[in-house]
Amino acid sequence: MLRPGSVGDDLDAVTPALTEAFAEVREALEAGRPVAVVVDARDLLGQGLPLDAAVATGLLGMVRTLGIEGAKPGWGVNLVAGGEGDEAAVEETVAMLAGSSLTGQLLQVGGANLGKVVP
């Protein structure tokens, strides 16, 4: 499971955050380990800090591409988004993904996304 921290208002932290996440996820996938990237649902919807939103949605774009590229080798890489109070549901979802064939998917737990645009 990869859960990047907040970059706050630090523009210089965005590229390292995404690049390190890419390297870490790729290393796990090449080693045959499934990966769940976890982000805050508020960031995915742009309800938090702008740079955290950029990182969260950037990770989603990366995960979707890795899902496409990893179809043949059978990579399992997904993104889980949960809000405050959704910790148990996030953990449950991450555990489920470890034994699943799902890949390249966005799994939104809790209700923060209901009635909102699909990221």
Partner: protein
């Protein structure tokens, strides 16, 4: 200075940037064209616009734009971008980082730096991509263009009602870069577009102009896919 205010277009030396600047000039904006490519100076001279040659990944570059922008910015179009495609297994971290830095962070840096300069009712239009939904060989590009969407969503909420922030997500667009692709590869890609053709710079520029205009005054935080239906096709 025009009554329509200043419109800043990055990546303005390229083909798509050219059509965008023409659309914005047609509705009376005072154009400030920005590019790393010095050719933007000739482009601006021919268009009766001002130019700034700047590297927006550096604060000095952003500072040069701020020096020229004035205090009545009506439109910012973040159009500058690069590709460094490779399968994830072959992609260098340097290439991943370069695309994020130029396509995403540089755009965010300029957008944020201009905050005190926007007029009431200003519009920011970010050039995202259909590839933000995922695209083989473009982990870096997908992340950068998807990141722009999230950034825009957050700013749209933070800056409303003073400034609107939206994104356009094109698919293949007829530019020198796509024309350089092997014809058989290009034909296969076009075959996946329900519209049956590659997009034109005009297709995209028209949507940018619309999102920048008062007609889109009730639209903010959104992404408009200008991809001939590619985003919903198999």
């Amino acid at each position: 200075m025009s009554g329509a205010g200043t419109a800043i277009v990055t990546g303005a030396a390229g083909g798509l940037g050219g059509r965008i600047r023409e659309r914005l000039a047609a509705v009376g904006h005072d154009l400030l064209l920005v590019d790393l490519d010095p050719a933007v100076e000739d482009v601006a001279a021919a268009a009766g616009a001002r130019a700034v040659v700047a590297d927006l990944t550096k604060m000095e570059g952003v500072g040069a734009v701020l020096d020229a922008a004035g205090d009545d910015v009506a439109v910012l179009v973040n159009n500058a971008g690069i590709t460094r495609d490779a399968r994830a297994t072959k992609m260098s971290e340097a290439d991943f980082a370069a695309v994020i830095e130029i396509n995403l962070v540089a755009a965010m840096r300029l957008t944020l730096a201009l905050e005190p300069r926007y007029r009431d009712g200003a519009a920011v239009v970010n050039m995202s991509s259909r590839a933000s939904l995922g695209n083989f060989g473009q982990a870096n590009y997908s992340a950068s263009k998807s990141g722009l969407v999230g950034f825009g969503r957050a700013l749209a909420q933070r800056w409303a009602p003073r400034v609107r922030v939206n994104a356009v997500a094109p698919s293949l667009v007829d530019t020198p870069m796509t024309r350089a692709m092997p014809p058989d590869v290009l034909a296969k890609m076009v075959a996946r577009i329900p519209a049956g053709r590659i997009g034109t710079p005009d297709d995209v520029a028209g949507i940018v102009a619309f999102l920048a205009s008062p007609e889109a005054g009730y639209i903010t935080g959104q992404v408009l896919f200008a991809c001939g239906g590619r985003s919903v096709a198999p």
